[in-house]
C-alpha cells in the first residue's frame, strides 16, 4: 500500500519566539501528526510506504525528519515561498503525480495557527479522487476504508474504496512518541528536496468552479434503505458522487 501524507510545520505555542529562532523552532502541525499516526496504524506490511510531503519556506529538515521518526518511510520537502492555496495545491498535485499510483492521501484539515483553506478540496478536484473531510478516525478492513466523520448534526461512519483523500479535523490528543529505534533510523530514510519558484506560471492548473443552486428535496416518512437510494441518485445527478461509498451507520447525535 502507498500512503501519502501531506504535512506542515507550524509555530509552537509554548516557546518564546525571536527573529533568530523563528525558523528553527517550528513543530509538526498536530492535525498532520494525527494523519501520520493514522497512516502508521493502517500500514500493514513492511513493504507499505508512507510518503511525506511538506511545503516549507526554508530548507530546514527538522520537521520533515520528525515525520519520518513517526512512521514515514520517505520524505519530500518542497521549498516554495508562496502562500496562495491554489499554488500550493498545484505544486502538491504535481509532486504527487510523480509518485505514480497511490492508495490513500491523508492530511490535516487545518494548521494550528491558520486555516488551510481549500487545499484538500483543490487536490481532490485536481486529482479527481474522492475526498472525505472532517474525519475523526479511520481504519482499514477487507480492502475498504471506514471513516468516522463529523458534520454539524451527525457522527457517521462511511465506507469508501481506495484510492481516496482523507482530511482530519482531529489533532493529536494522545501523542505517540517515536522510539529510540525510530529516531536512530531517520537518517537512513530517503529525503528529496524540490525547489519551486513563485514566478513559474505553469503552476496553475485551472479549476472549474460551478456556480449552481441545487434544488433541495425533502422526503418524509421514508425508511433508511429508500433514503440511501434517493440520496445516491441525487448525488449522481449533481456529479457529487466521486466514488463508490455507502452509508453503513447513519445516526443522529446531539453534540
Amino acid at each position: 500500500m502507498k500512503i501519502i501524507v501531506i504535512a506542515n510545520e507550524t509555530f509552537p505555542t509554548d516557546q518564546n519566539l525571536t527573529l533568530e529562532n523563528i525558523n528553527e523552532k517550528k513543530i509538526l502541525n498536530p492535525y498532520d501528526e494525527f494523519a501520520i499516526q493514522k497512516a502508521s496504524e493502517i500500514k500493514n506490511h513492511k513493504n507499505d510506504e508512507i510518503i511525506i510531503f511538506m511545503i516549507s519556506k526554508s530548507d530546514n529538515l527538522y520537521c520533515l525528519k520528525t515525520c519520518l521518526g513517526l512512521g514515514g518511510t520517505s520524505g519530500n520537502l518542497i521549498i516554495f515561498k508562496g502562500n496562495n492555496p491554489k499554488d500550493l495545491a498545484a505544486i502538491l498535485v504535481k509532486e504527487i503525480k510523480k509518485q505514480g499510483t497511490f492508495d490513500l492521501i491523508l492530511t490535516g484539515e487545518q494548521d494550528v495557527n491558520n486555516p488551510r483553506g481549500d487545499i484538500p478540496y483543490m487536490i481532490n478536484s485536481l486529482l479527481d479522487v474522492p475526498l472525505i473531510s472532517h474525519c475523526l478516525d479511520i481504519h482499514y478492513s477487507n480492502n475498504k476504508l471506514i471513516c468516522k466523520k463529523e458534520t454539524d448534526d451527525f457522527l457517521e461512519e462511511i465506507s469508501i474504496n481506495l484510492p481516496c483523500i482523507i482530511s482530519f479535523r482531529k489533532n493529536v490528543y494522545e501523542p505517540k512518541y517515536p522510539s529510540i529505534n525510530d529516531i536512530m533510523s531517520i537518517n537512513e530514510k530517503p529525503i528529496f528536496l524540490n525547489y519551486y519558484n513563485k514566478s513559474e506560471n505553469n503552476l496553475y492548473l485551472k479549476l472549474k468552479i460551478y456556480n449552481v443552486k441545487r434544488q433541495n428535496k425533502i422526503y418524509k416518512n421514508i425508511d433508511s434503505d429508500k433514503a440511501v437510494k434517493k440520496i445516491s441518485t441525487y448525488l449522481d445527478e449533481w456529479g457529487l458522487n466521486g466514488g463508490l461509498y455507502e452509508y453503513i451507520n447513519l445516526f443522529k447525535s446531539k453534540k
Binding site: 525528519k65 521518526g69 501523542p175 512518541y177 522510539s179 529516531i183 536512530m184 531517520i186
Partner: protein, 383 residues
C-alpha cells in the same frame, strides 16, 4: 574529541523523553508519591520499554538501543525533572540490574536475560546491601553453598530497589567467607521462579516514595549453577565495577532533580509579586537563582564528561565519583534553595519542590555515599 554540541539524534531523544515525561509521568507524580504507588512506577517503566529506553546503553544484538551512557544521562536529566522515584527505579534497572549481566555474563546468560531486560519485559534489581554491610560491602553475611547443580543462598538483603516487582535480581553472597572480599560471588536470581525468597518489608521513606525498596529474606534459595555471574570469588569486583557505572546514572538522577527544582522556582519567581514587583526582580532572589543555575551547569558538565569518558572506553571511575559527589550535593543545595525561593508555600504539598527536596537527599547516600566518593577521589589523587 569531547564535544559540547549534541547531535540531532541526541536532541530528538531528549525531546522524546521530555514529551513523555510531561505528558505521561508528570500528571500523576504527586499522587504516586503521596500514595507510595510503586506499581504505577512499574507501569511507567513498561511504557518506557516500548520506547526503547530500558536498554539505551546496551548493544543492539541484545535488544538494546546501541547507544551509550551519554544518551542515558540525557534521558535521565529529563525524566528526573518530573519524577525522581521513576528516575531511581530506571537507574537501578539500567545500571545496577542489567549492567552486571551485560558486562560480566556469559553468552547464554546474555541471550537469556538481556533482550527481555532491554525491552522492559523484565525489570532488574540489585541485591548488595545488607543490614550489617552498607558502605562496607565486604562485611556481607549472606552465604551461598554449592550443592550439586545448585547454589543454596541464605541471608538478608535490604534497600533492594525494585525488589518486589523485579524479574531479575543480581544478588551477592559469600561462597567462601574465609577469603573476605575475594570470597563474594554474584548470582542472577529470578525471584518469581525460584522458591525460598521473601520480601518481608517495604521501607517507609522520607523521599522517592513512589519507588519500592525491600528487605529480602533468602531461606535456602536455590539458584542454578548456570546463574553464577562471572566466576566464584569475583563478586566484589563485579559489584564495584557495577557501582562505578551506577554513579553516572545517580549523577544524572541528581542533575535532573536539581533542574526540575530550579525551573519551577524560576517560573514561580517571575509570577509571585511582593513589594510591588515579581520577586525575580529582587536581587536577593535573582542571585539565588543565578547560584542555582551556576551549580547545575557545573554538575551537568561533570556528569556528561563522566558519561562521555565511559563511552570512550577510558577509565571512568574517578570522573564517575566526581560526577556523583558534585551532582548530588548540588541537587540537595538547589532543591533546598528552591523551597526557600517559594517561601512558606514551598514547604507545602501544593508545589513539587518539597518533594524534590525530599527526593534529593537519598542521592547523597545511595550507590556509594558521598563520603565513599571522597575516599575514592582522594585515593586516586594522592596515589
Amino acid at each position: 574529541m569531547y564535544s559540547l554540541k549534541f547531535t540531532e539524534e541526541q536532541e530528538r531523544i531528549c525531546q522524546m523523553v521530555k514529551d513523555f515525561s510531561l505528558n505521561e509521568v508528570a500528571p500523576g507524580a504527586k499522587e504516586r508519591d503521596i500514595n507510595g504507588d510503586f506499581l504505577g512506577t512499574r507501569d511507567l517503566l513498561k511504557k518506557m520499554g516500548k520506547l526503547g529506553l530500558m536498554g539505551i546503553p546496551y548493544d543492539k544484538k541484545y535488544g538494546g538501543a546501541g547507544l551509550g551512557y551519554l544518551e542515558y544521562a540525557l534521558a535521565g536529566f529529563e525524566l528526573n525533572k518530573v519524577d525522581a522515584s521513576l528516575g531511581i527505579s530506571y537507574s537501578v534497572h539500567i545500571s545496577l540490574g542489567t549492567g552486571p549481566i551485560y558486562n560480566f555474563g556469559n553468552e547464554e546468560q546474555k541471550q537469556k536475560y538481556l533482550p527481555k531486560l532491554c525491552s522492559g519485559e523484565y525489570i532488574a534489581a540489585f541485591g548488595l546491601t545488607e543490614p550489617c554491610a552498607g558502605s562496607d560491602a565486604s562485611a556481607s553475611q549472606c552465604t551461598a553453598v554449592k550443592k550439586g547443580d545448585k547454589y543454596i543462598l541464605n541471608g538478608t538483603k535490604c534497600f533492594t530497589t525494585n525488589g518486589e516487582f523485579a524479574d531479575v535480581i543480581v544478588v551477592f553472597a559469600m561462597t567462601n567467607p574465609e577469603l573476605g572480599t575475594k570470597g563474594i560471588s554474584a548470582f542472577i536470581v529470578e525471584p518469581k521462579n525460584y522458591p525460598g525468597i521473601k520480601f518481608i518489608k517495604r521501607e517507609a521513606k522520607m523521599g522517592i516514595r513512589a519507588s519500592v525498596q525491600n528487605v529480602i529474606e533468602m531461606e535456602n534459595l536455590e539458584v542454578p549453577v548456570e546463574n553464577l555471574l562471572g566466576q566464584e570469588g569475583k563478586g566484589f569486583k563485579i559489584a564495584m565495577a557495577t557501582l562505578d557505572c551506577g554513579r553516572i546514572g545517580v549523577a544524572a538522577h541528581a542533575v535532573g532533580i536539581a533542574k526540575g527544582a530550579y525551573e519551577y522556582a524560576l517560573n514561580y519567581s517571575k509570577e509571585r509579586v511582593q513589594f510591588g514587583k515579581p520577586i525575580s526582580k529582587l536581587q536577593v532572589i535573582a542571585f539565588k537563582l543565578a547560584d542555582m543555575y551556576n551549580k547545575i551547569e557545573a554538575a551537568e558538565a561533570v556528569t556528561l564528561k563522566a558519561a562521555w569518558t565511559k563511552d570512550e572506553h577510558a577509565p571512568y571511575s574517578i570522573p564517575a565519583a566526581v560526577a556523583k559527589l558534585t551532582a548530588t550535593n548540588v541537587a540537595m543545595e538547589v532543591t533546598t534553595e528552591a523551597v526557600q525561593v517559594l517561601g512558606g508555600t514551598g514547604f507545602t504539598m501544593d508545589h513539587p519542590v518539597e518533594r524534590m527536596m525530599r527526593d534529593a537527599k537519598i542521592t547523597q547516600i545511595y550507590e556509594g555515599t558521598n563520603e565513599i566518593q571522597k575516599l575514592v577521589i582522594s585515593g586516586a589523587i594522592l596515589r
